[in-house]
């Protein structure tokens, strides 16, 4: 279906576009000594028929795409030139037929004679109009393609975000999982009650992390719950090497943020902080509200002998990207080492579910 025929408004605008061409044609005829009746009687039906006849160029243009280069124009130039001459001639012929049909109306007896004289001019004009409609068709097709590309781009971006989230969900650290299962294996013999507790904790953590990935945005409360479930398991693994400190302002809990932002931070704190230190240390999670913003912070000690981390690891880079992707310049991401403590700070506007 031709896009101009698909909507009444578009068709109206298109036909309106033909009005000045009709006036022009009538004007030319008048300047050649035709009277107003003759000029109008011919120009109006002729232009109306051309308007519909030349719609066909759109289908041809679609079949002969330009391929986005100027060379494309040259490749099809020959075909278009021939089609234009053919259609111009056809159009002039139509004018002549029309003139013959109108000749019986009183006052239009001279029309066939006049059209006969003007046939070369009419043919030329037909060629020009045809080429103009080819150009218009290509323009419309190009615009259509642009819109399509934009829509596809937006779709691809959405898919990419979703797959990224899926990947995050699937990114259940295998090292964590196997070490936890090993702890569980040890506990079954020495402390069955705690083994059962660990089973429950592990299930709780898995269920939460699987459920969270389904959503784009999540309340900070749920992110904190996930981190608590995770750290409760690590507490069993690391025993008294891991000391946890939670400082959470209840006002921060309903704040919405991209899913799974806190989890990579606490996993990092365990991997590069607690697990790398024979004596372990304090892992502190802080969430406070200040001037309409949530400040979310994870602190962990670092091995003083190891070199300071060079730049951000892939996990932290993703956190930053997703935070800034959601909040833009209204959010801030900081990672710094000071006095043997690694600190990651996220600051973002306090927005809650309406």
């Amino acid at each position: 279906m031709h896009p101009l025929l698909a909507s009444r408004a578009k068709l109206g605008a298109y036909l309106l576009g033909w009005a000045p061409i009709t006036l022009l044609l009538a004007g030319i005829a008048r300047s050649q000594g035709w009277n107003s009746l003759e000029a109008g009687a011919l120009a109006l039906p002729l232009c109306l028929s051309a308007a519909f006849l030349f719609l066909s160029t759109w289908f041809l243009c679609r079949a002969l795409p330009l391929g986005g280069t100027v060379e494309g124009l040259g490749a099809h130039g020959m075909a278009w030139g021939m089609a234009a001459v053919l259609m111009g001639g056809l159009w002039a012929g139509l004018a002549w037929l029309l003139a013959r049909m109108l000749a019986w109306i009183p006052g239009l007896e001279a029309l066939p004679q006049r059209v006969g004289n003007a046939l070369p001019v009419l043919t030329g004009l037909g060629v020009l109009l045809y080429l103009a409609s080819v150009a218009l068709s290509y323009l419309m097709l190009a615009q259509e393609r642009t819109l399509e590309a934009e829509r596809k781009g937006a779709e691809a971006q959405m898919l990419a975000q979703e797959s990224e989230l899926k990947a995050l969900r699937a990114q259940l650290n295998p090292h964590f999982l196997f070490n936890s299962l090993n702890s569980l294996s040890a506990l079954t013999a020495v402390d069955p009650a705690r083994a059962r507790e660990m089973c429950v904790l592990l299930s709780d953590f898995l269920r939460r992390s699987l459920g969270l990935g389904e959503r784009r945005l999540v309340a900070l409360r749920e992110e904190l719950d996930l981190a608590k479930a995770y750290l409760a398991i690590e507490q069993i693994r690391f025993g008294n090497r891991l000391h946890l400190t939670w400082t959470v302002d209840p006002a921060a809990e309903p704040a919405l943020l991209p899913t799974l932002l806190l989890q990579p931070l606490v996993e990092n704190a365990i991997k590069h902080g607690i697990a790398a230190l024979p004596e372990g240390g304090i892992l502190a999670v802080t969430a406070v509200v200040l001037e309409g913003h949530v400040i979310l912070r994870v602190d962990n000690p670092l091995d003083a002998d190891a070199p300071a981390p060079q730049g951000l690891g892939i996990g932290l880079r993703q956190v930053r990207q997703r935070l800034l992707g959601r909040f833009g310049s209204r959010a801030r991401f900081e990672a710094a080492v000071q006095d043997g403590t690694h600190r990651v700070t996220l600051v973002f506007p306090l927005e809650t579910e309406p």
């Binding site: 090292h175 090993n182 294996s185 040890a186 025993g239 697990a275 790398a276 024979p278």
Partner: protein, 251 residues
């Protein structure tokens, strides 16, 4: 048979201990929560067998093994780890056994039997060196730090703190933070483990951390010297200069 259990997690050591209880001829002489403790315990107890975790604070399992080797100790080793199993598959070729956490009693007993057999027989093929094992577990990734036993003290040299390395017969002299450390290893073997875009063999006897290089000066036609950030000068051979130029032109 005297055994050592080395793992930074209490519960992980408990599983090994529990499985060993079924083998009364194996005596657990010590349990260690990190590599440094392990070295101390190994020096005191002379174990025949060690159960060794890979990811541990300060020193990893490979580094512990390497330092034990440096002291001439070759206990039978069973790696016990949640480490990437693909990385460890290469160990099978080296006749070294490993247990992936968590493991079954049967799997544990099989690993123990294998270690016992290796310990009893004088192995026809010499056991692979710890650094070879570590290299195969790294799967082609370059080394990130070097461990050196300096008398009773163990030093971990992170590569961004290593200025240059000099060959001294069967030893290498490591220059780091104004100190010299000696380690028993050949320059060629160390060079093969390092990132070739970071450490360049500028001379038959010298490997240089490219980050330390300021410029190369030409004294005479055939004599060039590398000037380092701290003002030190190292000789650059013709082949070494060629390698530097290739690197510069490539970049």
């Amino acid at each position: 048979m005297k055994a050592l259990i080395i793992d930074d997690e209490d519960l992980a050591r408990a599983v090994v201990r529990e499985h060993l209880a079924a083998h009364p001829d194996v005596e657990v002489v010590a349990e260690c929560a990190n590599g440094l403790e392990a070295l101390k315990a190994a020096a005191q107890q002379q174990p025949d067998l060690i159960f060794l975790d890979i990811q541990m604070p300060k020193l990893d399992g490979f580094e512990v093994l390497e330092l034990l080797e440096a002291e001439g100790k070759r206990p039978a080793v069973v790696f016990v780890t949640a480490y990437d199993q693909h990385a460890l598959r290469a160990f099978e070729a080296h006749a070294v056994d490993y247990l992936l956490k968590p493991f079954s009693k049967e799997r544990f007993d099989a690993a123990l039997a294998k270690a016992r057999a290796l310990h009893a027989a004088q192995p026809a093929v010499p056991a692979p060196s710890a650094s070879d094992l570590a290299a195969s577990a790294r799967q082609g990734r370059p080394l990130e730090r070097i461990v050196v036993k300096d008398g009773p003290k163990v030093t971990v040299v992170h590569l961004d703190r290593l200025d240059w390395v000099q060959a001294q017969d069967d030893y290498v002299l490591l220059r780091t933070e104004g100190k010299n450390l000696l380690k028993q290893q050949t320059l060629a073997s160390l060079e093969s483990q390092l990132d070739p875009s970071r450490f360049i063999r500028i001379h038959r006897s010298y490997l240089l951390n490219l980050d330390r290089l300021v410029r190369v000066e030409q004294d005479s036609k055939e004599h060039r010297e590398a000037i380092l950030r701290d003002g030190a000068r190292l000789p650059v051979s013709r082949a070494g200069y060629q390698r530097l130029r290739e690197l510069w032109e490539g970049a």
